[in-house]
Symmetry: C2
């Protein structure tokens, strides 16, 4: 979850505010946002939230942050348009001031002068930030690659980076995502040839799935559809919404009459239509997955159709993606996905090792701090920097929560602030607490057993035999001996307790829990959650 606070004197700027999609360990959690405690506690110093680009892992947490603090949000027109759509869903659009920023048009926020420097990435209007204070300039790279031939011909602003480098940069904070890849990341244009071959030779429908923010990809498909006499259709909520926004802003140029609505797909011959769909990660409710199991209102596939997954397989999503691919093969469709074949069906939006070197050599900062990556990637990025002569002073490997302090004397670590993740259930936008997750994890491993005791409030005696119910544990109806022996454990526990203990439900419950835990472990090898309930009747 990308989020960074820069401070000078009494002014704080937050750069980006992303979300993460949870892994399987986070049972029942829909999204994960950063812990905003530090920003909340220092909200009176917060002057701006600045967004580097429109990806979910950089803007998705914005509504949750703005629920707790108040600050103007800066971003490019496209980024702000997508952010606005999010804020509208949360009812925050009216109460938030959105301020457009343009590359090479510096502006002031508190003590900071901010310049947005255009860099290429897999989405449009992406860039770095130059944050200048009396101490010097900090460059925050955002996500970038140095694409020499972006489809919109807007190459990275190497000149401005070079200018800053020439004048002297205090610190560079640079993206480490692809540090492990040697060489250069291929241009966004590289997928054009492959997509063109597929579309030109396709006997039936062509379904192309990519991220809805991959504007370059959308533009390429639109151009190829036109070239090959196919109508174009965007399918899926975010694909429809983002393409609408991009067209409105003039960032996606689609000739009059090319676009059709999904309900018209069936009216056209199969070889006269190209679709762009959401769902490249096999998300079960997204368009592509629904088409794969023939459960989409407007779209279906038949033998002879082609399905193109023009996105990377995000680690952790292999199973749903390949399950979806298998469904398409079973329906006779031909599926293209990132299998290492060349030319590529997808290219990364992040620069590889040689591009990271170029960034370092252009900016040549005094201090270098790798960001955006796991520990091993930050470590390797720092090692890479040591091979160059670019960093004149020092590199720092800092992790989430670490504070780095700069002054006239230099730079140094300066303690930590609270950070972490907050799990959100999107049904309610509520936080799912860690204790709840722990309970779910415990129950999900070996189930739950609930022994219920009805104790007479006057005599302190059991009114009836203890009742035992369970779920996710061995089926108790099939194990009467186990139920009987568990009852005996409960009765013995009560027998052996003195009156004072029986009177204290907390004690008796704990003793029953301990006794049953041991008993079930011996009898079944399992460690279910045990939740004794005492009813005073």
């Amino acid at each position: 979850m990308n989020m960074m606070a820069y401070e000078y004197d009494g002014d704080m700027i937050v750069v980006d505010c992303g979300i993460m999609f949870p892994d399987a360990e986070l049972l029942g959690v829909d999204i994960v946002v950063p812990d905003f405690t530090y920003v909340r506690q220092n909200r009176e110093r917060l002057r701006a939230i600045i967004l580097t680009h429109a990806h979910e892992d950089h803007i998705g947490g914005l509504p949750y942050l703005l629920d707790e603090v108040d600050a103007p949000v800066y971003g490019s027109p496209f980024t702000l348009a997508l952010a606005r759509a999010k804020l509208e869903e949360h009812g925050l659009a009216d109460s938030t001031r959105l301020v457009e920023m343009q590359p090479s048009q510096p502006f002031n926020v508190g003590a900071f002068q901010v310049e947005f420097i255009h860099l290429t990435h897999s989405t449009i209007e992406s860039g770095a930030l130059a944050l200048t204070t009396p101490l010097g300039t900090v460059i925050h790279s955002g996500d970038f690659k140095f694409d020499p031939t972006p489809p919109d011909q807007r190459v990275s602003d190497l000149h401005t980076l070079a200018d800053y480098g020439r004048r002297g940069v205090l610190a560079l904070f640079s993206d480490s995502t692809n540090i492990e890849r040697p060489g250069l990341t291929p241009s966004e244009r590289a997928v054009r040839g492959r997509l063109s071959d597929i579309i030109s030779e396709a006997p039936g429908r062509v379904l192309i799935s990519c991220f809805a923010t991959s504007l370059h990809r959308l533009q390429i498909v639109a151009e190829l559809a036109l070239e090959h006499g196919r109508r174009l259709c965007f399918v899926g909520r975010s694909m429809f919404q983002n393409s609408e926004i991009a067209m409105r802003l003039g960032k996606l140029r689609i000739p009059e009459g090319l676009l059709i609505p999904p309900q018209d797909i069936k009216k056209l011959p199969r070889n006269k239509v190209a679709l762009v769909l959401t769902g490249s990660q096999g998300e079960p409710m997204a368009a592509l997955s629904r088409v794969a199991v023939d459960n989409h209102r407007w779209v279906s596939v038949e033998p002879g159709d082609e399905v193109v997954i023009s996105a990377r397989v995000i680690p952790g999503n292999e199973k749903p993606i390949f399950r979806m691919i298998d469904h398409f093969y079973r329906r006779g469709a031909r599926v293209y996905y990132q299998d290492g074949s060349q030319p590529p069906i997808h290219v990364s939006g992040h620069g590889s090792a040689e591009e990271l070197k170029l960034m370092l050599n252009l900016v040549r900062p005094k201090y270098f701090i790798p960001i955006h990556g796991e520990y091993r990637q930050l470590y390797r990025h720092l090692e890479l920097a040591k091979e160059l002569a670019a960093v004149s002073e020092e590199g720092f490997l800092i992790e989430s929560g670490d504070v780095l302090e700069f002054d006239e004397q230099g730079a140094r670590r300066a303690g930590r602030v609270p950070v972490g993740r907050v799990c959100i259930d999107v049904g309610t936008f509520d936080e799912v607490e860690e204790i709840i997750l722990k309970e779910r994890r415990h129950i999900s491993a070996d189930g739950i057993v609930i022994p219920i005791l009805a104790i007479n409030e006057h005599t302190g005696q059991l009114e009836i035999q203890p009742e035992i119910v369970s779920r996710g544990f061995v089926p108790l109806e099939e194990a009467p001996d186990l139920v009987e022996s568990a009852r005996e454990v409960i009765l013995k526990t009560i027998e052996k307790s003195n009156l004072e203990e029986v009177g204290d439900w907390g004690v008796i419950k704990e003793k029953i829990r301990t006794g049953l835990r041991k008993h079930f472990n011996e009898q079944t090898g399992k460690r279910p959650m045990i939740l004794p309930v005492v009813l005073e009747v």
Copy 2:
């Protein structure tokens, strides 16, 4: 889970019997074995279980199968030695007849003549099976690659495959694992150069992790340790056990005095020892993971040590593996893993597309059936075969459970037999039933709520206010309003029910469940499992 039954007249042979390690969807399940129903129902025809090689996904299910049926087990000496160790753990070693088979020494099992054909793979003594009946010969490839330079110099027996091909083969069943990779898989020898560089330049300890069955890898490390003046130590239970077995069988040649026990590691200078450890997949209890968090009895790392993960990242294991790598980096160790850099730190044991073509061209069967792979891989293997002139009759894409029937007239699909997966809890070796998993999945998403009613058995009236406990749901102690309103739902449900309904606990429980489900969904957006309990006091 690799397992295949071949039948002719009244004789059945089962080839391999593997296990799978479960994904996160299988809560609390330790391993998955095949459903043996068909073999069990036809056990009187079962003549032999034949193992193609010693990998877990080919032999791991053997003890579970032999728990249900009785048959001799055929395998190479090394494969049988590993199988025997498994059977001993399950108390089945004495009751099972293990029969050694050697390459190029055909033997008869019922109506079948069986020949084991040596092929190269990532473990030793791996091979294909030629199963000959009066109808012709079927070749079952097992897992293979055509490694021209295996470390033990035992190349694949191309000549025997060619002989069968010349005489005519009825059907080829061939491994599809690496169909998506173009070209040739590098030789096992390819990792030697990289490992040699690492070991020769290492200032401290070298820790190398690979699968304990990767005998070629073990042999290479032993040779390099000797070359570079380091003592060798195997760490981890299966690494120790497999190396012992292999040395005893003369399959792992380690010079006298090279090997040390783990407790002696600390006595040697750090640059005088090379370790081979289990745990390449980040398994939390395996040696490497324990070293990573400094929780291993005999081994620790320091800055200057080198950690080599000489294995592929099995999809689904990315998170634990990379978490482990991060831990090593934090301790200052240098970590080498499969990051695409050349020369490789690991090579696959499965042949790539050109090797699969060579297999097809050598065997040139009448019928071709791709095996070992997901649907898309089988599909692509079949497509590959269509590009060649190797298959004279037909290819079949069959999935688990499909029956393929051969006779003088040809080959055809012939229905299905029951197949599936059986989930095992290794604590007890018990099967985890699907209903239990469903319950765990339900609870793990939104938690569980247990409303408890104490009803007077004489009056049919509630004795006390309904009690409500929950786990994994919203913390009820912090939501008194929710508890109160839920109580009201319960009371209203009982009020509105007639006497007959209240008398029938099944009905009243279902009505309460329905009422509370609706109530909680409206109030919290969550759908916990609701488990009403009625106590008659």
